[in-house]
Symmetry: C2
Subunit: 351 residues, 2 copies
């Protein structure tokens, strides 16, 4: 996966030809021949010369032939090199940016739908699959906790984060508690944990409970217990996905069984969460190309992701999934810009 060495080994001409081939293939989805490279890209070389270069590039592992005497197709390594060193248009034009902003603006302030709309935006503009990994409720500072009495022993716990997310869960308690008592409990608990992320709250409650072994204060004791009960168990990352049907347009997925396996993986969100979590750890724009993906079903797909923030808090990841033959030149800046825009919005919101 390290290509830093080989970079030096390529001559300018080789790089030009490789770029031409990859760009052509991205658009046509068909093996590229020496003839069309010579013609379309106006090199001052004959097809024969280009054939020699292509043979070299194939030896280096950047290209393959689907069968003897067909045109060349980029390998995953080829795409990787393209993305790392050859790509053109590393950023959007001002016009494109304002077009995205315009589409983004009306979505603002729509609460929960926000994530869904950003996902749609990504899939729409990329004509691929858009994904957004929503902020883990554990990681974001809590603004408020509410308890609502449901039945004798069951209460509804509502969590509101500083970023405006709302999460809720039903908890069964051992004892019967009235709504009035619940309110008091909530008030106390709020004063204790406000501003902490949930992950911290869990530790905090355990510490506090140990500390206050004597438990003179009945209210405090109950607050700690109820809080503890409410917040155990991991919160799973939620992921939004849209535009999966765009994938069906791609000629590489004419085989319906291949298609099905990919869609099964889309449906099983937990796998997607796992991969996006990995991207989150990278703390920057990440590209996963084809076989670099740990998920076998997706080794014909590529992923471009970027994290988004609320102030200094890393919240989640958003990105685009498409065939390895995706338009990296357009999609990378799109994802990058969208993540920045989204971060900016969230940061402004929270203030």
């Amino acid at each position: 996966m390290l290509t830093g060495d080989t970079t030096m080994e390529l001559t300018d001409r080789q790089r030009e030809v490789l770029r031409a081939i990859i760009q052509d293939y991205i658009l046509s989805a068909e093996p590229v021949g020496s003839r069309s490279v010579a013609r379309k890209y106006g090199f001052r070389m004959s097809p024969a010369t280009i054939r020699n270069i292509m043979a070299d590039l194939a030896d280096l592992g950047y290209l393959v032939q689907p069968h003897t005497s067909a045109g060349r197709v980029p390998t995953d390594l080829g795409y990787r090199f393209y993305v790392d060193s050859l790509i053109e248009r590393p950023s959007l034009t001002r016009a494109e940016e304002s077009r995205i902003e315009k589409r983004f603006r009306p979505v603002w302030g729509k609460g929960e739908d926000l994530m869904r709309e950003v996902t749609k935006l990504l899939s729409g503009l990329s004509r691929s699959v858009g994904v957004v990994l929503a902020p883990r409720v554990d990681q974001v500072a809590i603004k408020r906790i509410e308890f609502v009495h449901l039945s004798a022993e069951r209460i509804l716990v509502i969590l509101i984060t500083k970023s405006g997310q709302v999460d809720h869960r039903v908890v069964t308690l051992d004892e019967v508690i009235s709504q009035d008592e619940l309110n008091k409990t909530a008030k106390l608990l709020n004063s204790l944990v406000e501003g902490m992320p949930l992950s911290r709250v869990r530790e905090f409650l355990v510490e506090k409970m140990a500390e206050e072994k004597a438990m003179y204060d009945a209210l405090l004791r109950r607050a700690l217990e109820v809080g503890h009960k409410s917040f155990v168990g991991p919160t799973e990352g939620e992921v939004y996905i849209d535009g999966t049907t765009n994938m069906m347009r791609q000629p590489e997925f004419a085989d319906i069984e291949k298609m099905r396996l990919i869609f099964v993986a889309f449906e099983e969100k937990s796998k997607l969460v796992k991969i996006l979590d990995q991207c989150l750890a990278q703390e920057g724009l990440t590209t996963i190309i084809g076989s670099e993906n740990i998920l076998r079903e997706w080794q014909r797909l590529s992923l471009v992701t970027a994290p988004y923030w609320c102030g200094d808090d890393l919240l989640g990841t958003l990105g685009v999934i498409g065939p390895t033959r995706m338009e990296y030149g357009k999609i990378i800046p799109l994802v990058d810009f969208t993540a920045k825009l989204f971060s900016q919005y969230l940061t402004e919101e929270a203030s």
Copy 2:
């Protein structure tokens, strides 16, 4: 679509043959010939006799031939007649029911995930697409309203229904209100509207505002205004869907473009909501077969749905979507039973 008349015109033998053909086709997905009907179903008739009967059934519109001299395939009318008058096994066996109950049980009490899990259950057991139309927040009695201060003029409105659903939205107010004032406002509003469905609340607030034109009570005035602002705008029905990939296994969707159109409709949930809303109006188990569907993209699909309740309140619909060639004999009782089980659970919960 009315088949009541023609029912009488069919002889017992014709009915038997039609049933055999449809059942065979449901399993094989291939045109059924006279020969195999005679063989597999052990009628004491020769293929020639059956051919005559099949010709009659084709004349009546229950069967068609994909091409001259191929076997017969049921029409939508044929399926309709099958479902209305021929179907075997109108209910599940005790063993099957307890198997469903067993799968259903561990899901209980998981709050929001409940809907998602029921959807999975439906798709898993039917090996088709499961759908659940979640209760409209408008229609269900409200248990509690909360306001949380987000930024200067923006507040988060949280609605909790008696059935334990939680809905939230962000509202921008004209004036700055502190959290403390918000709490008072919420308390007042709760006392006014508790137990009403949201649809009623909207009317109520308008009435009340008109009534109290003088508006002596500043707190009441503000409560009404904030409430009004919070609850305008229709709440859209949410729909859960799972198992879409099962559709890709069906031989009738080998054509990827047909497939794509169906999936686009899955992705656009609003259309699905529209159809399920229609089913809801029927107040009983509903089957929509092929061309009976108003959605053109889905005219090769069938839908089996049943409403679910919380006590006497009609909450939503759940069901299964599959190819017209679906196993109605299994899926109808499955949907029916699942809806009853779900209703029973929700009713017990609410008490």
